[in-house]
């Protein structure tokens, strides 16, 4: 089969190239997401090598990538952790939403993308990348730091916020009326409540459906359940991603840990395809006009995230250096900003400039986040020494 041969070679070259990019990214201490996006941009619109014949596969693979990204986001925190997170850190969570969703919504308003575009852009600038942040905190040996639980509890709250936000966004994207929108909000709030109650009280039973001591059977069951739920959710106009996310929350305990360990490599594979496809579908020539907005958003939302972390850490009695570290740690945006932009653009509710803006923004933030987390200590120390020259570091 000649066509299959070419597809295999192309696919192999793409994965191998992504592997090299990923290695390069972690070597220089940044997340590979921006490099995957750039890779997609380079191969897209009049790019270096036009890829033909594998788009059927890559389109499906990128859908699976979104499902797995959201499933693992749901698996990351147990229902009990979500509830304690909600109780302990709701104030920091609200500050986080207000400070970080507003800049995005304002830019959406100024660019004339209407309420839908505002809602989507608010999500893009609000949601931190828990993947990048957890990796950076681990790499820098900061998991034992006192400010780290503060950072994590903000991420937990964002996770919960996504559970409410995503169904609303998808309902609005589907073009429902104001009343219909309110109904969708009601349904989604009811759904998340039911899922949380089920996960807290009957999490074992949900887990038992997918659990198996045999790793092969377990993998097939978890993956099968995720795709089934995602497909059914999308049939009910709730978006596949939301279904997978809620399933992730409902699976609990050791089953969730095993599922995470097993699905992580798969998620990384399909998510990489998702980022490349998003880059492919973004028109590079649309980027220069929105680059100014992306840079402005990057500057503002870096400061607002730093302020969020600083405020949250200060309330918990963390020292000045810890406050600075908590702020800088939260800066990174990544996979979920792209997921939100992807959902929005593919629904056709907002024009393609949003894809370009989101790409440029995430390119900046996914690079800036890890760098900010690294340089914050020397910077804060220098600033302190400058303020009080006699003080020792």
């Amino acid at each position: 089969m000649h066509e299959t041969t070419i597809s295999l070679i192309e696919l192999g070259a793409v994965f191998f190239g992504l592997g090299i990019l990923g290695r390069l990214a972690w070597r220089i201490g940044i997340s590979p997401i921006p490099l995957y996006l750039i890779g997609g941009l380079a191969f897209g619109h009049g790019g270096l090598i036009p890829l033909t014949g594998i788009d059927a596969f890559t389109d499906l693979a990128s859908e699976i990538g979104v499902v797995l990204l959201l499933l693992l986001l749901g698996l990351e925190y147990s229902a009990a952790e979500l509830m304690t997170g909600l109780r302990r850190s709701w104030m920091a969570g609200v500050v986080d939403i207000v400070l970080n969703a507003l800049p995005g919504a304002l830019v959406g308003l100024i660019l004339g993308w209407g309420p839908v575009g505002m809602l989507a852009m608010a999500g893009v600038t609000y949601i931190s990348s828990s993947g990048i942040i957890a990796k950076v905190l681990g790499d820098l040996g900061r998991l034992g730091n006192r400010e780290t639980p503060v950072v994590l509890s903000v991420l937990v709250f964002e996770d919960l916020a996504m559970a409410v936000y995503l169904p609303i966004l998808t309902a609005v994207l589907a073009g429902v009326s104001f009343v219909g929108g309110l109904t969708a909000v009601g349904i989604s709030l009811a759904a998340i409540t039911v899922v949380l109650v089920v996960a807290l009280k009957f999490g074992r039973y949900v887990s038992a459906i997918v659990d198996s001591p045999d790793p092969e059977v377990f993998l097939l069951r978890v993956l099968g359940a995720a795709l089934l739920v995602a497909g059914l959710a999308s049939q009910l106009q709730v978006s596949a991603a939301v279904g997978a996310f809620l399933l992730g929350i409902a699976i609990s305990g050791s089953t969730a840990e095993n599922a995470t360990r097993m699905l992580e490599p798969l998620r990384d594979l399909f998510a990489a395809v998702f980022f490349v496809v998003f880059g492919l579908n973004t028109d590079p020539s649309a980027m220069p006009p929105v680059l100014g907005w992306a840079v402005a958003l990057a500057v503002v939302t870096t400061l607002t995230k730093v302020a969020t972390g600083w405020w949250a850490a200060r309330r918990q009695g963390i020292g000045p250096m810890g406050q600075a570290r908590a702020g800088a740690a939260l800066v990174a945006r990544g996979e979920f900003s792209i997921v939100i932009a992807g959902l929005t653009v593919s629904s056709g509710a907002v024009d393609n400039r949003m894809a370009a803006l989101a790409t440029a923004y995430v390119l900046l933030m996914a690079i800036l986040g890890p760098v900010a987390a690294r340089v914050v200590e020397p910077l804060a120390r220098a600033a302190r020494n400058r303020l009080s020259p006699a003080g020792s570091a």
């Binding site: 304690t84 828990s130 040996g141 998991l143 730091n145 006192r146 639980p149």
Partner: protein, 156 residues
């Protein structure tokens, strides 16, 4: 105990020297030993990853003297009886031989009450217990008995 959502838990305390030391227990069972920075109690100077075996060995190193002290306290009421921990040097006479072969009680009157191996305490070992290099043998007896026991375990 401080939960670290998505990662595990952190347990730590501030020691008299002002530093904070503790352990991060990951969900998958790995451990990390953390020591806070001097001057910034919020930050960690180092976090050292430990396998479960290594963590239990470290716990033994720190915990075994407490065990012996505890035994010593129990025996203090009985005058003339003392506790001592004697190492089995790797490659020495009893490395690989059984407790019974030492004939410790017959020769010295002292008894072996426990063996500490890789952080685990084997209490009241039976005569068929096989020693290994690196074991710490906890012996109870009179001062002379303990001296003799030390000599026997060192050189047969």
């Amino acid at each position: 105990m401080t939960p670290l959502p998505g990662i595990g838990t952190r347990q730590d305390f501030v020691i008299r020297a002002g530093r904070r030391i503790g352990v991060i227990t990951y969900r998958d069972g790995k451990f990390e030993l953390i020591v806070s920075q001097e001057g910034d109690p919020d930050a960690c100077a180092s976090s050292i990853p430990l396998t479960p075996d290594e963590a239990s060995a470290l716990a033994g190193l720190l915990g075994a003297p407490q065990l012996v002290a505890h035994l010593g306290n129990q025996h203090r009421d009985v005058t003339g009886v003392d506790t001592r921990q004697i190492p089995v040097v790797p490659g020495s006479v009893f490395d690989g031989r059984t407790l019974g072969e030492t004939a410790l009680r017959t020769k010295t009157g002292a008894s072996i009450v426990a063996v500490v191996r890789a952080g685990n305490v084997h209490a009241s070992p039976r005569p068929d217990f096989v020693f290994a290099g690196g074991d710490l043998v906890v012996v109870v007896g009179t001062a002379e008995g303990l001296e003799a026991a030390t000599d026997i375990l060192a050189s047969g």
